[in-house]
């Protein structure tokens, strides 16, 4: 019996030693006994809490200011709501001075508007251990102590700050300047649309290349070749693609009048569907719904270079007499334009991508530069209301030029005018109003 007891004791000792030894081996570093000096032990109330301004609610901003000597420490933030606690952030660098407690896509049930929250900070020299993290969120623990420690290091605990509530704003004042200018710009637009409605004569200057549309379609028809219209690799949510679709409407109408075929290889299925609608409408308007063929507006693939390869192949085999490249183009611009040139087609290109414009200028017969492309549909169908919107754009250009010149002159005068100055003027104006 005694013998057994001794054996049991020895084996227990062994297990303990073993456990101890393993523990030592797993522990990467020893605690630094000098890590926390007596004058830094008391942290006090270091967290400054505030609702994140101008957001949709559900966000608290936590700021802190620490003595430089603590900047290399890790900070862990714990949030308390009633008795439930949550780790908001751990292992942050104290020198980052700020963290936001917000809802994310993965965790939507985080901060609720109108609830009172309290926050506590925990400072440590080394990364916080899981053991301590579990301890911190434990319901029964009261974080009223100044320090806690595990086997390796001492943790400093701040006083609890709070309460703070999150709230949602109904207006974002940071966007006030944009708001005011939006109103001014909308006003200018509506004014000019009204002018147009009242029959004011509006002019649009010649846009090189658009006069050639008729010629390009006509020549293709004579040669018995189809027209190809390439909308680039944008989506229907991109304005250049929408602009390209509006030009397609005008071109397709001419095509229908000439009773020719128009091929529209598309990159995006939604663009394809919309292009089908556009072409169908144009053919109907021209009185030729009978020659509209849905299959001529086809989908290629949603892969930039797969699309380029497919369109290139189609160009080489169908040999269109005129190629239109209108929309959003990236690196594939020149691949398409060079192939189009090699088959001898008249090419009319247009895009808003400044990096691609030089390639179009080099390889195509006509190129619509940026805004010219946006205005092209108006040019091709000189509807008074549309002309009104173009005139409004011009007025805004004048305003921008004036602002730049004023800014420059004031700059010379040494006032150092920047956009903040305008912000101030806007704010002042609003207060007066």
């Amino acid at each position: 019996m005694k013998k057994n007891l001794v054996l049991l004791l020895i084996s227990l000792l062994f297990i303990m030693l073993n456990a101890f030894g393993q523990d030592r081996a797993a522990e990467p570093m020893l605690p630094d006994s000098n890590a926390i000096t007596s004058e830094t032990v008391y942290l006090g109330n270091i967290l400054i809490l505030s609702d994140i301004p101008n957001d949709g609610g559900g966000g608290i901003e936590i700021d802190w200011e620490l003595n430089d000597s603590l900047n290399n420490y890790y900070i862990t933030i714990v949030r308390r709501e009633g008795r439930t606690k949550k780790i908001v952030a751990s292992d942050l660098l104290a020198s980052s001075k700020q963290v936001r407690d917000v809802n994310s896509d993965e965790d939507m049930s985080n901060v609720k508007d109108g609830t009172e929250y309290f926050y506590t900070a925990i400072l440590s020299k080394y990364a916080v251990s899981q053991q301590i993290l579990d301890y911190l969120v434990c319901d029964s623990i009261d974080l009223n102590t100044r320090t806690i420690a595990d086997g390796y290091q001492v943790y400093l605990i701040s006083d609890e700050s709070g309460p703070v509530k999150a709230k949602a704003s109904w207006f974002n004042p940071e966007r006030l300047t944009v708001f005011v200018s939006a109103i001014i710009i909308s006003f200018i637009f509506l004014l000019y649309l009204q002018f147009a409605r009242n029959g004011k004569k509006l002019y649009i200057r010649k846009i090189n290349g658009l006069d050639a549309v008729e010629e390009a379609v006509g020549r293709s028809t004579e040669m018995g070749k189809p027209i190809m219209y390439i909308l680039g690799i944008g989506y229907v949510t991109d304005i250049p693609t929408i602009a390209g679709l509006t030009i397609l409407g005008r071109v397709a109408k001419k095509v229908a009048e000439y009773k020719t075929k128009i091929l529209v290889p598309s990159y995006d299925p939604v663009v394809m569907t919309t292009a089908q609608e556009v072409v169908k409408e144009a053919f109907t308007e021209a009185g030729r719904p009978d020659i509209y063929n849905k299959n001529d507006i086809m989908y290629i693939t949603q892969d930039q270079f797969g699309y380029a390869a497919g369109v290139d192949g189609m160009m080489i085999r169908e040999k269109p007499g005129a190629v239109f490249l209108q929309g959003l183009f990236f690196a594939e611009s020149l691949i398409l334009a060079e192939t189009g040139h090699s088959i001898g087609a008249i090419q009319i290109a247009g895009t808003t991508e400044t990096a691609q414009l030089p390639f179009f200028v080099a390889a195509c017969d006509y190129t619509l530069i940026g805004e010219e492309m946006m205005a092209a549909s108006v040019y091709l169908q000189k509807d008074p209301l549309m002309l009104g919107s173009i005139a409004a754009e011009d007025i805004m250009k004048v305003i921008i030029i004036i602002i730049i010149i004023i800014g420059f002159i004031l700059g010379i005068l040494g006032i150092g005018l920047h956009i903040e100055f305008f912000n101030k003027i806007f704010n002042l104006l609003i207060e007066i109003l």
Binding site: R205, D312, E371, L387, I400, I405
Partner: protein, 201 residues
């Protein structure tokens, strides 16, 4: 090094050559590579769409998170299928109208912000020749885009200066980008000569 014995490298190399053969003229090899690329990339696209849209954005929210708001785009998406039936195909205009409305609506505030940033960026931080040239360049380029007046007289002269700036910018952008294009070609040649043929070390 010697010629590669890896079947995958061979596939990649032969496909590379098939695409290059297009530079000589259209031929069955290019056609093969082209059709294969289109077919593969669309299969790839569908797989991705299947995973990213149907599973992540429709199935999971609907089944796991009980987010019934997803039903609206689901219906709009299904309305697109009305195009398969001639007499109902007009229904597909609803989703198109939604997408176009959302796209244009979202673009308006970002256009405003863009305008602001650009004007702000043009304001000189300091006065020197460079900044002066930038201001002249921006203003004259803008004048070139005046549509509602004829480019004659003073406006004509200013817009000529604008076109000068535009041409310089195009030339510069052209010269600047081609470097990256040649790097790509170098990369492909390296693959062919080294990984595949092994004729260079």
């Amino acid at each position: 090094m010697a010629i590669s014995t890896n079947i995958w490298i061979w596939i990649a190399a032969l496909l590379t050559l098939a695409i290059y053969s297009f530079l000589y003229k259209d031929n069955p090899f290019y056609k093969f590579a082209e059709y294969l690329l289109v077919g593969i990339s669309i299969g790839y696209g569908v797989s991705i769409y299947w995973h990213n849209t149907i599973i992540t954005k429709v199935y999971n929210p609907l089944v796991h998170e009980k987010d019934f708001l997803v039903i609206i785009p689901l219906i709009l998406g299904l309305l697109m299928f009305s195009r398969f039936f001639k007499s109902y195909s007009h229904l597909s205009r609803m989703p198109i109208a939604f997408i176009v409305g959302a796209g244009t609506g979202l673009s308006i505030p970002s256009s405003f912000e863009f305008l602001f940033k650009q004007v702000q960026g043009t304001m000189p931080a300091s006065l020197d020749v460079g900044n002066l040239i930038i201001i002249v360049g921006v203003i004259t380029t803008l004048v070139y885009f005046f549509f509602s007046m004829e480019h004659k007289g003073f406006v004509g002269k200013v817009s000529r200066i604008g076109i000068t700036f535009i041409m310089i910018a195009f030339g510069a952008a052209f010269g600047y980008t081609i470097m990256a294009r040649i790097s790509l070609l170098i990369g492909r040649i390296q693959f062919l000569l080294s990984d595949w043929l092994g004729i260079i070390k």
